[in-house]
């Protein structure tokens, strides 16, 4: 039996630039930043006081009030993204046992954990909430989604830092391709705009100190000085292509390939030659059975840290050869900030939308070229361009690399 093809039939973004496909996509195409002053806690004493928060989000719109109380914000965001994606796909009729879930997260319910540590330290072990463990466990989003929608197929959670969302989509793609499920709800969620995470990332020197919210995330620009921490969730509905066609589903793109590798180099710094990142891109292309020359668009990992953006540029040149200069490369983190474990899923959604619409969202804040970053980063304005094949890169702390290949559906 030949392998099944897998298509993306639903997208559910819950992000700083918008909630739902239309607001999300129109903001990105317009080059609108979702970064603003940090409001989720009093950050006046912190070195970084900007973040990408999901605004106008009411968890009670997506789950009952008791469930809201029992769960962490990471589950609220994930639950909303899952319902949005499922609705967007037209709620396909599927046996619960044939529906899988793979959700990624970088840190899980760190907000709940840190609140309860405060209770423990100030009031003792007898006052700690009985919901602490279910709230903090990184698999809580995956569990919630299965319970909410009644999906009893394979259900896993991926925790690979900033690559978790992409690994989740890639592993979910394999579930469907290999016949373990007919439909897979795959994505990522993160809710780490909490004091301990803001302090810890700042101590690493990884976050931008630029006080101007909308200009702080500037991937590939010479004045970049770190990433901007964001929160959010995004879920994709992955479906067996024949099944999707039979029900007349709207298809965004075919998810055609997935490649993964590890740097085995350093816990936070990318391997300077990018050999493993190159291997992941090549593996995704081989899985899709496509040559490097067919890549029209790359949604870069592009974090806006000095190290990532030069290493990724170098890796793109190795993976695509001279064609790297012909491909459009953009980092939508310039607008969304870095959603950590949700980033790869949100960017897979961006890539699918670029394939479907023939519009490439820009990298904003391109003002001063960096000689080490000399590719076509689609500066500041969206571009109309037919995208037959696109890659979405994700590289996580720990050296985890995941690359997805998305392709225009053959008609």
């Amino acid at each position: 039996m030949s392998q099944r093809r897998v298509v993306v039939t639903g997208i559910g973004p819950v992000t700083p630039v918008g909630i739902g496909v239309e607001p999300f996509w129109s903001a990105l195409v317009a080059g609108r930043s979702g970064i603003g002053p940090l409001t989720l806690f009093d950050a006046s004493e912190y070195p970084v006081r900007i973040a990408g928060e999901v605004r106008n989000f009411e968890p009670g719109d997506w789950m009952d009030r008791r469930e809201v109380r029992r769960t962490d914000r990471v589950v609220h965001l994930a639950g909303a993204a899952a319902r949005l994606a499922w609705d967007d796909a037209g709620k396909p009729a599927v046996e619960g046992s044939r529906a899988a879930v793979v959700m990624g997260t970088g840190i899980g319910g760190i907000g709940s954990l840190s609140e309860q540590l405060k209770v423990l330290n100030e009031r003792g072990p007898g006052r700690v909430s009985p919901f602490t463990v279910p709230a903090l466990m990184p698999n809580a989003p995956a569990a919630h989604v299965a319970m909410d929608l009644g999906f009893t197929g394979p259900n896993t959670c991926i925790v690979t830092a900033c690559a978790a969302g992409a690994h989740a989509v890639g592993e979910g793609y394999r579930y469907v391709r290999d016949g373990l499920a007919d439909v897979c709800l795959a994505g990522g969620a993160e809710a780490a705009i909490v004091p301990i995470a803001m302090a810890a990332f700042a101590q690493m020197g990884a976050m931008s100190r630029n006080p101007d919210p909308e200009r702080a995330s500037r991937p590939f620009d010479a004045a970049r000085d770190g990433f901007v921490l964001s929160e959010g969730a995004c879920v994709l509905i992955l479906e067996d292509a024949e099944r999707a066609e039979a029900r007349g589903a709207r298809v965004y793109a075919e998810l055609a390939g997935y490649g993964a590798s590890a740097d085995a180099h350093h816990v936070t710094a990318p391997e300077p030659d990018g050999a493993a990142a190159v291997a992941a891109m090549q593996a995704a292309l081989a899985d899709a059975d496509e040559p490097a020359e067919s890549v029209d668009y790359v949604n870069a990992h592009g974090t806006s840290t000095p190290l990532n953006d030069t290493a990724e540029t170098r890796a793109l040149k190795k993976a695509l050869g001279d064609h790297a200069y012909q491909a459009a490369v953009s980092s939508t983190k310039s607008m969304t900030g870095h959603l950590l474990g949700a980033a790869g899923a949100a960017e897979a959604a961006v890539t699918a939308l670029a394939v479907q619409t023939g519009t490439i969202p820009p990298t904003i804040n391109q003002e001063t070229p960096d000689p080490d970053c000399d590719l076509d980063y689609v500066p500041n304005e969206a571009r109309e361009k037919q995208v037959r094949l696109a890659l979405s890169n994700s590289f996580g702390f720990g050296g985890h690399n995941a690359v997805l290949a998305l392709r225009r559906e053959r008609s």
Binding site: R66, R69, F131, P134
Partner: protein
């Protein structure tokens, strides 16, 4: 505090904690069957009752409580108005 005041206070607190209307929290209301409350909800509700009323309710005593009325009785005894 009279027992009636204790009952009013416990019902108000439970309705807030369990996110149900106060008139759904009657003396005969059963936690599990009527309110779909699980053991974790019950532990959390007990912590809230302890904080609000300044009493200590040992876990093993709360474990046998099945109805709102039994919870009121338990708290009333702890407050010396049972």
């Amino acid at each position: 505090m009279t027992k009636t005041e204790v009952e009013t206070k416990v019902r108000t607190l439970l309705s807030e904690q369990l996110q149900v209307k106060q008139d759904e929290v009657q003396a005969a209301t059963r936690f599990r069957e009527d309110l779909d409350v699980d053991s974790l909800d019950l532990v959390e509700a007990t912590l809230a009752l302890e904080d609000a009323l300044g009493v200590e309710i040992p876990e093993e005593e709360m474990r046998d409580v099945e109805t709102v009325g039994q919870a009121v009785d338990l708290v009333a005894v702890k407050l010396g108005v049972g």
